[in-house]
Symmetry: C2
Subunit: 377 residues, 2 copies
């Protein structure tokens, strides 16, 4: 069975509906991957994730390497057995977290030297080391170590980061072949396209990585502060080069409208902390835009967060009660809104897929945005 198969291509955009096959189940794309940094999607149990029909979650290599440690997860039989999430898992490479969280990090041609944000202990991530960690973790899809250039970033820096990423991708591919899987099932390694907001670097990056024949491609270094216009221009340039028969993953993106813009440009996979982080801040995504639950106007609203929604939260609780829980600092509400938000994202991807299959993605997108941007409340 092929790892990835396109089921239908849209004729009015670059949107595609596909299927990804992994040892832990098949994934219908386009797909949103909830972020489960520490081998848990914050506030949600595996049963909650199944209830909202999440298909695949993301775990963070950097975090799991530091705590509880890759050896412990390996001993448990891999991250699925460790965490009891039995579906597919993608792990990032940890490079982004080294830059954003770790102290005293230093990058060399060999890799990252850094100190743990937890206890200050010293560590080193090379492309090979990151493959080894991910073999221990046993994620279905593993990302290569890359250098994610910040924004803004001058051309020289962006080119240097891009070239390092290419060099590391090659080393990662080799390490992947040499270090065997440890849990008796296949894993898939994705490369990451870099190049900041420079079209020629993006093209060079994509072409070089395509030559290495990865089973899938991340588009990294976006959603780091650049204008939306540039983000989608870069995405467009890259998806024009990436092979049509391989999955594309726009890393760290984004808002509901961004996911639709990504799909339109041929992206298959997304991840973002927004549904869970906003959930914990008391902000819900609804068909009419975002809703801040602590707002006084919800005090006597005995209606669901989002009327058309059929998640547990919306079938069970009123805005008035959720607002009470939030004001009373009851942690239950963090779960209830996170659950709704993940459901909202998952449903958006399901509906987008159905629209692609029906040959009507662009009208679907237009209609969704018309409601979503009314921002009602």
């Amino acid at each position: 069975m092929a790892f990835f198969r396109i089921v239908r291509k849209d004729s009015h955009s670059k949107a595609r509906a596909g299927i990804l096959h992994t040892a832990h189940g098949s994934i219908q794309t386009p797909v949103f991957m909830p972020v489960g940094t520490q081998a848990t999607v914050k506030t949600l149990s595996p049963a909650d994730l199944r209830a909202v029909k999440a298909q695949i979650i993301l775990n963070n290599t950097y975090h799991l390497y530091l705590r509880p440690g890759a050896a412990l997860v390996c001993e448990a039989g891999g991250v699925q057995k460790f965490s009891a999430w039995k579906g597919p898992i993608l792990t990032d490479s940890g490079g982004y977290q080294v830059f954003s969280l770790a102290a005293l990090n230093k990058i060399t041609a060999d890799g990252f030297r850094f100190q743990s944000h937890i206890d200050g202990s010293r560590h080193f991530f090379s492309p090979e080391k990151v493959v080894e960690i991910q073999r221990d973790l046993g994620s279905d899809i593993m990302m290569v170590l890359d250098e994610c250039a910040p924004y803004p970033c001058d051309y020289a820096y962006a080119r240097k980061a891009h070239r390092l990423t290419i060099d590391w991708a090659l080393r990662s591919r080799k390490a992947f072949a040499e270090i065997k899987e440890r849990h008796g099932y296949p894993q898939y390694q994705f490369a990451i396209v870099q190049g900041s907001v420079y079209p020629d670097l993006r093209r060079d990056s994509a072409r070089a990585l395509v030559d290495m024949d990865f089973p899938g491609y991340g588009i990294g270094g976006l959603s780091v502060g650049e204008p939306k216009k540039e983000m989608f221009e870069m995405t467009d340039i890259v998806t024009d080069i990436l092979p049509a028969n391989k999955p594309r993953y726009l890393m760290g993106v984004g808002k509901p409208e961004d996911l639709l813009d990504g799909i339109e440009r041929g992206v298959d996979m997304f991840d973002c902390i927004m549904p869970t982080r906003n959930g914990r801040n008391g902000t819900a995504f609804t068909s009419h835009g975002q809703l801040v639950i602590k707002n006084a106007k919800f005090k006597r609203q005995f209606i669901p967060l989002d009327e058309p929604c059929d998640c547990y939260t919306c079938r069970t609780f009123t805005r008035a009660y959720l607002r009470h829980l939030f004001n009373a600092q009851e942690v239950l509400v963090l779960r209830l809104i996170s659950l709704h938000n993940v459901h909202f994202y998952v449903q958006l991807m399901r509906r987008a897929r159905q629209a692609i299959l029906a040959g009507a993605f662009m009208p679907f997108k237009k209609e969704f945005l018309e409601h979503y941007r009314k921002s009602s409340e």
Copy 2:
């Protein structure tokens, strides 16, 4: 249908198995009531509570009166409709919280004057006012306002508190008759026996309240620091006086072994924050005693919290993973251990009831304690 019916009495102790009927469902006794202070059992959803077969929960009048306010709960259609917990609810009177939480409280013959612990606003609770609030809330069982004497407490103070409690019980009974229910279903009012650790006061209190013919009786002012021996002596004295055909509720008790000691002395109902509070501290109740999940010895234990347990947590997760979640400060673990602990308490009551029905309560108690006190790990 009678409000309460004894199904079987034990012949070797005062233990009873009974059934309580309320508008929101029947309750098999002995029963443990999880505490849902702010109209939510901390970290658990109504679906979680149903999954562990909780039959009735407790809500706090003081807290709900202050936030979100009794009028709002009334407008929602009562606390069941407000909170989406559709089963029976008992509300305490708020007197205990006024003493333990509120600032600048002052007690007079008329009631409690106090300031909110949330915003310092000034309030007054009389016996009548508390009935009125509970009519708004629509709890199935409502407790009268009482004065819970602290421990230690001299005889004169204890007698004064006991007499005030009797006076208020009479006023509460009258108010209950005068202030009608607001949600179209019957509510039941329980008195509270006081008298500190003084046998004659406990007897006087129980007798006076029995004369007022309440449908049920709380035993209050225990589990406030007195030795266990005195707590159960007082319980024994009181249950000898209370009518056999009415439910007895030992308020705020306790540890698993205390519940069994209470059942042995003829108690039918219990509430305690321990399963949920300990859950949030990372302490689990198991058939071999308490287990502190952060303990290093659990790091590589890929077995459930409690092997014989069939709750979601034990069916799904290992000690190693729960310990990881706790160390990583993931709120999910607070729910998972709370869920297990409430399940543990509910199961203990179910097994106690089965033992009573089988005429074997005392052997059951002995066997449970033999395992429980081994304290294993």
